[in-house]
């Protein structure tokens, strides 16, 4: 029997982030800058407001952020 999806997570996916967010195109445009700022220990959310909220609301962009951060940060792929 498969695990039942969590109600709270489901509500989060349906309602999306409460904070203002940028769209997928703007996210892709600035994802490299965001990741370099993160890896440099700076605060990317001050420089690029709305990108973090978009990552919370968009699984595809979130996956691409995780991959870029892992690749540039030197993590080995699974």
């Amino acid at each position: 029997m498969s695990e039942r999806p969590d109600l709270k997570q489901a509500l989060g996916r349906l309602l999306g982030p409460a904070a203002p967010e940028i769209g997928c195109d703007e996210c892709f445009e600035r994802l490299d800058e965001y990741v370099d700022l993160e890896l440099a220990g700076q605060d990317p959310d001050t420089v690029i407001p709305g990108l973090r909220a978009h990552l919370d609301g968009c699984p595809a962009c979130r996956e691409e952020h995780e991959s870029l951060r892992a690749l540039v940060g030197g993590k080995q792929a699974l």
Binding site: L11, L14, D36, P49, G57, P59, A77
Partner: protein, 213 residues
């Protein structure tokens, strides 16, 4: 949605060197393009390796082919958009994202190849929150019921289909964009508008959303 703008920065020396080689002519450009392709292939293979456990039906040769095709397509994108690089990041970080994107899109599409896209709710009634107290669970169930009614009554047919497919049934956004012959950005705008409508409706209905929602 709020638009973000990037300001031009001074390029680091490695990034300047990349641009110089890629804008050169003859053998110098060929060598830079070959190095760029190798960099993009590394990104594409990285993405393939990360997703490999979720793609058991694809064989090694298929995955190598996907990575190579992704690197080829990403090379075209990077070369076409070279003037868009403004130095807000290192050139290699900027280029990597094209390789990762091309590989991710191809793999998501492969994973959904031949599968029907579910545009109607498949999972209503399956949700559970074992960690919640009974009164909290009752509250969330009421919220869910109100949300179900709102999805049926407040959203347009297109908004409903997009929200259900993406947020409820887990269809990847680029897979849905391809099937509906639209763009990822346009679909996310539809999803965003639908979510805003639902939030507004819930607030007007007197529902209290927790801060993290």
């Amino acid at each position: 949605m709020k638009a973000a703008t990037a300001s031009p920065r001074q390029l680091d020396s490695e990034s300047r060197e990349w641009l110089r080689g890629l804008r050169a002519t003859g053998a110098e450009r060929d060598e830079a393009v070959a190095r760029l392709h190798a960099l993009l292939l590394r990104a594409a293979r990285f993405e393939v390796a990360r997703r490999r456990p979720s793609l058991p039906h694809l064989r090694g040769n298929d995955l190598d082919e996907v990575a190579l095709q992704a690197a080829d397509d990403a090379l075209m994108s990077v070369l076409a958009r070279l003037d868009d690089f403004r130095g807000a990041s290192r050139f290699t970080t900027w280029a990597y994202k094209f390789g990762l994107l091309e590989a991710a899109v191809k793999l998501r599409r492969r994973a959904w190849q031949g599968r029907e896209i579910p545009l109607e709710p498949e999972t209503w009634g399956l949700f559970t929150s074992a960690s919640l107290e009974p009164d909290e669970q009752a509250e969330q169930s009421e919220l869910l019921s109100t949300l179900q009614r709102a999805i049926d009554s407040v959203l347009t047919a297109h908004q409903r289909r997009v929200l259900v497919a993406l947020a409820l049934n887990g269809v990847p956004i680029d897979v849905l964009a391809e099937r509906l012959n639209t763009s990822r950005g346009a679909l996310y705008k539809t999803l965003h508008d639908a979510r805003r409508k639902l939030r507004k409706h819930l607030e007007e209905s007197g529902m209290t959303l927790e801060e993290e929602l």
